[in-house]
């Protein structure tokens, strides 16, 4: 059982993978579209809010050591609430995997394979996901940790290599479209921290039971820094009108990098890193989806239905008819799904479970829940 546990660093990399991969897709573009020149302030603001929420989540989970959100739902409302929460998280993971898979494949198609069918590109990714899931959860998480420094470096490198092309004045006016848009409606950009979904499911898998706080803060702060650099790169580099394209804006930024006549067209190497990163992210989300499904229905094994899930994700990813539908789903629908599932319903469940725990504690004395469902 011990070798199936996740170390603190592995867990941090796991939560980070969400932000990193959405940064490679359209996350910075969506933030700039909503906050305009105040994007940097908005990112700082939502990062502070995310840290506060992280602190709150850790406090709420303190009473339920080694239990994930499904066990907590079971404690709160019994089997049916557990099933419902499981279905919600399962839907969230499958939706995310399918949208990210389609979006990245569309980007690759535009850049490198304009005449290849989108399904062919997606199948290659899906095959990789199924194979990695057959190899195991631990292998995916360790590979992700191994590659994470490179993914983070690529974001920082794009920022520093483009510094000479920056126009700092693009962050003026400082409050962009106004204080209300930056701080109130800008709060919806909290969806960037969708990695919270993993935090709710991590406790049973952690080697260090008390490490959740460290993992939460380290991953949120690193995610915030990552987001800050990527948003700053785009904001300072291109006028807003140039950012509203279908291709990953960070890829477009990487195309400007050159060192003399010999080191040109470095975007190809970045794209290679991002393909690896995306595969790791999709594999992790897929793995969590299968584990949630297993826990929901008390199955003993996960491996036999990974292929079925892959087919389902493939079908789901093909639903958006065109690029504009996809951009809408990725930019707007995904945003609300994260806000509702990760920040709305999950937090409410945790708060209610804590209230129930406190009431039972008052009635009977200490209520110990030390079921370790690993």
């Amino acid at each position: 059982m011990t070798d199936k546990k996740i170390g603190n660093l592995e867990a941090i990399a796991l939560v980070l993978t969400v932000v990193v991969n959405h940064v490679f897709l359209n996350l910075p573009k969506n933030i700039i579209a909503s906050a305009s020149s105040a994007s940097i302030i908005n990112v700082l603001f939502i990062s502070i809010i995310a840290v506060l929420i992280g602190y709150f989540v850790c406090k709420l989970l303190e009473k339920f050591p080694r239990l994930d959100i499904l066990d907590i739902a079971n404690f709160l409302g019994g089997k049916w609430l557990k099933m419902l929460t499981g279905a919600l998280f399962l839907g969230y993971f499958l939706f995310t995997v399918s949208i990210v898979l389609r979006s990245f494949s569309e980007g690759l198609k535009i850049v490198f394979f304009p005449r290849s069918p989108i399904a062919a590109i997606m199948i290659l990714f899906l095959l990789t996901i199924v194979i990695t899931n057959k190899i195991g959860h631990q292998a995916i998480i360790r590979s992700n940790l191994f590659m994470m420094p490179i993914f983070l470096f690529s974001i920082l490198f794009i920022f520093f290599a483009n510094i000479e092309n920056f126009t700092i004045q693009r962050m003026l006016p400082v409050l962009g479209n106004g204080a209300f848009t930056t701080f109130f409606s800008g709060l919806s950009n909290l969806f960037a921290f969708g990695g919270f979904a993993y935090l709710y499911l991590l406790p049973p898998y952690l080697k260090d039971d008390k490490g959740l706080k460290k993992i939460t803060f380290a991953s949120i702060i690193t995610s915030g820094i990552c987001l800050l650099f990527s948003v700053a790169t785009l904001l300072f580099l291109s006028p807003n009108s140039a950012i509203t394209e279908e291709i990953s804006p960070l890829y477009l930024a990487s195309r400007n990098i050159q060192f003399g006549r010999f080191f040109q067209r470095l975007d190809a190497i970045f794209l290679l890193f991002w393909i690896i990163s995306l595969t790791a992210y999709l594999s992790i989300s897929f793995s969590f989806a299968t584990r949630v499904f297993q826990k929901m229905l008390n199955f003993e094994y996960t491996k036999w239905y990974t292929g079925l899930f892959a087919l389902f994700v493939f079908a789901l990813a093909l639903i958006p008819e065109n690029m504009y539908r996809l951009i809408f789903i990725e930019g707007t629908v995904y945003q609300y799904v994260v806000l509702i599932v990760v920040f709305g319903i999950s937090l409410t469940l945790l708060i209610l479970a804590n209230i129930k725990y406190a009431l039972l504690e008052k009635k009977k004395g200490a209520v110990l829940i030390d079921k370790a469902p690993v």
Binding site: I110, V111, N165, T167, Q169, S238, P239, S241, A242, E245, I247, L252, R255, N256, Q258, R261, Q264, R265
Partner: protein, 164 residues
């Protein structure tokens, strides 16, 4: 391989686009010491997309703009305004942001036909090195498409290009 293309005001359509390609295998060993031959073709169309589509119908290979080094605009065209073309070029993934922008005092077609590199066999290399002479001479400047576009969008700067 497409080396450069130029925009002129069209006679029958809005723009006339002139493309310069190198001949396949022109940099092989047999041609050592000789200037690599190139092919120059012009089409008239309403926009750059239509021009590329049109040229694709009568050249045997699909035109790919990703190796394009220089984009030339005639002075007449530049005076009329080239923002539409610049936006279209910026939206094309194939076109690199570091492609040089040149304004020619003659027509773009004439400029492209008259360029005969004397100290360089490879035309592609010539176009790559030429704007970089700004590093050791003050008579020219190294203006890229992305700089031109950024200045076109800026409220405080005017776009400039190399005049030849």
């Amino acid at each position: 391989m497409l080396l450069q293309f130029g925009f002129d005001v069209g006679d029958t359509e809005r723009i006339k686009v002139t493309f310069q390609f190198t001949m396949p295998n022109s940099s092989g060993e047999n041609n050592a010491g000789e200037t690599a031959p190139s092919v120059i073709d012009s089409v008239e169309a309403a926009c750059i997309e239509s021009a590329v589509n049109l040229i694709n119908t009568f050249v045997s290979k699909e035109v790919n703009l990703s190796h394009c080094k220089v984009i030339v605009f005639s002075e007449e065209m530049a005076k009329q305004g080239i923002s539409k073309e610049i936006y279209s070029l910026m939206n094309k993934v194939e076109v690199r942001p570091d492609t040089n922008i040149i304004i020619s005092t003659t027509t773009a077609e004439e400029y492209i036909r008259s360029v005969k590199p004397s100290l360089e066999n490879l035309v592609a290399k010539f176009y790559e090195i030429l704007p970089r002479s700004s590093e050791y001479t003050g008579y020219t400047s190294d203006i890229h498409l992305i700089d031109f576009f950024n200045k076109l969008e800026s409220m405080s700067e005017e776009p400039i290009a190399i005049l030849r």
